[in-house]
Symmetry: C2
């Protein structure tokens, strides 16, 4: 019997945010890949594209014309998943056919008028303006009486279902607290009720001590590969202070967040020297009017790539039916990301 080595032996790790285990198979990282490969994104885009429905002054599919905006621009999604109107719901449903109408609002946030940019290529001050808009949107939407949760997120790259390279994110604001957020909240609350502390505040302290998975740190935030990360280069940005939601940010914290966002996404782009695809989004307290002392602001990054710009991790069969599984360990991923330059590869002098 050999003795256990987490760099060599299959093992499971516990995710306290979701109260779930994941499977780690470090020995499998070197298997040959003969399966599907992905297309690289185009490298050079114009600053303004006549055919882009997000560019300044262009006309969208529904005939609306975008203003000649500079900086951040927010509008309502022309093909939203939610509808604002209240509907009459007579039938009570229960048992196996339980169903309830859902009201909400879908918005698109263009990060910049410049079609060719992405977060890592924007200036920190301009990213801060995106953070300002997240704050304003969360406030405005959250204040509506029928909006109890505001999900802010970004899908980046064709491989993440994003149909337009123009830098943009989305907001889906709705009446209910979505399943995954609710599960996270339950676990944060259980911990808070038991210990009187924020789960993520305690976690950040332990991670700073361990110093094995930290990629970036500034005065107010850390960026880490969580101990229980599922995706090969999954990361999380967490505030050091217990901040329930974006409304609690001091001005300095907004700048710190913009700065760590730039550095993290720059490292991502440098990993395979390409515009790195991901889905990212903020988890924070719901806007349901209840007290949420258990909540602690964090932002997840779920990038699909595994070995190169062409080879992604497939979360299929076993992962869909049984349990998420990863090959490379979180510590190895963190090490790789940490050692990458903070200067974007397009700007490096070689």
């Amino acid at each position: 019997n050999s003795s256990f080595d987490q760099k060599k032996h299959p093992h499971r790790r516990y995710n306290p945010l979701l109260d779930e285990w994941i499977l780690v198979s470090p020995q499998r990282a070197n298997r040959p890949w003969q399966g599907q490969t992905e297309k690289r994104a185009e490298e050079r885009l114009p600053a303004h594209d006549e055919n882009c429905y997000l560019c300044s002054g262009n006309t969208r599919v529904n005939g609306d014309k975008n203003p000649d905006y500079k900086g951040v621009f927010v509008f309502e999604n022309d093909f939203g998943s939610l509808m604002k109107d209240e509907v009459e719901f007579a039938e009570e449903t229960s048992g196996f056919f339980s169903l309830q109408p859902e009201r909400g609002i879908n918005r698109v946030i263009c990060f910049s008028e410049n079609h060719s940019l992405t977060l890592p290529e924007m200036e920190v001050d301009d990213i801060k303006k995106v953070v300002d808009v997240w704050q304003n949107q969360y406030r405005e939407l959250g204040n509506l009486d029928y909006i109890n949760h505001v999900q802010i997120f970004e899908n980046k790259g064709q491989i993440m279902g994003c149909s337009n390279p123009h830098p943009h994110g989305q907001i889906w604001a709705q009446s209910s607290i979505p399943s995954i957020v609710l599960k996270t909240q339950d676990n944060l609350k259980r911990y808070f009720d038991k210990s009187g502390n924020s789960l993520l505040e305690d976690y950040v302290k332990k991670e700073l001590e361990a110093d094995e998975r930290i990629i970036l740190e500034n005065e107010d935030f850390i960026a880490i590969v969580p101990f229980w990360a599922v995706w090969p280069y999954e990361t999380m940005i967490v505030s050091k202070r217990k901040i329930e939601n974006v409304l609690d940010f001091y001005d300095r914290e907004k700048l710190s967040l913009a700065s760590i966002l730039k550095d993290l996404t720059t490292k991502y782009d440098n990993l395979f020297e390409m515009s790195f695809p991901y889905s990212a989004g903020i988890h924070q307290s719901p806007t349901d009017g209840n007290s949420h002392t258990e909540w602690h602001f964090h932002m997840h990054f779920y990038p699909p790539l595994l070995r190169s710009a062409e080879v992604k991790k497939f979360m299929v069969g076993y992962e869909m039916l049984a349990e998420p599984q990863r090959d490379i360990t979180p510590e190895q991923s963190a090490e790789i990301l940490k050692n990458l330059s903070n200067i974007h590869y397009k700007k490096q002098i070689k």
Copy 2:
């Protein structure tokens, strides 16, 4: 205020197997798609491919030679995610860094020596031989003292991370009960303890009454789009009788399962007249030696395609961070699948 119509208005539906809600947005089905498209799989494959590591008599990557098998052939995965060896595990882990070694076995099941076939193109008697092997494997692996769960599944198609079109599935057998199976079990058990009935037996009865989501029915099984399906054409095969696991099958039930498997996968292939990709797998009682009267055999099919062979549903941003979301309703999908022919498009005389 208009009154609620589930074919028109956004709503949420409850999934009793996972105790989670999903978002349904029927009004969104017609949005234009300008994003990534998928490649169609090759239509004509040879019955034997010299370069295929699963074909009879060929040599695999690790140097092992496959026997000249006919029918079903099982071997151990050369790049498994699990390892059989027991490892010594001294350190106790807890708190934020909880981890445990995991033992297990990964096997590959070739469904046929014929490289060009897939389940819908196989004869029912030959599919029954696959079911026999599922039974034998579940028994053999489940009897090992360190194996407490046997996950049987199939990834079909390049888009599902499957690197070889040779008809095959997999088994991952391991010490722990995986997260999603455990969650399902908890919900089956809660229902069983409360009502004394199998959740899925009661559900099947209600679905037969409603007759809105049933695609196929024979003496022993139904194939339905569950009320809470997430993927556009997600389906579930459920036994009418409460069967805890494959060992409980009567011989007739094995033939009935083979037959409904052939018919369902034939309809899938007929949907877009292509070899239809999916991940499928069996949920059944674990092999942990405990009594599992709550369990009820079922098989999930998670196919990624949405509108055509080229356009898939992206489960990204909102879905990864907040909640699964679908456009077309389960009733619409069931209607479409139900009305498709049971004769494979390649065999239809046109």
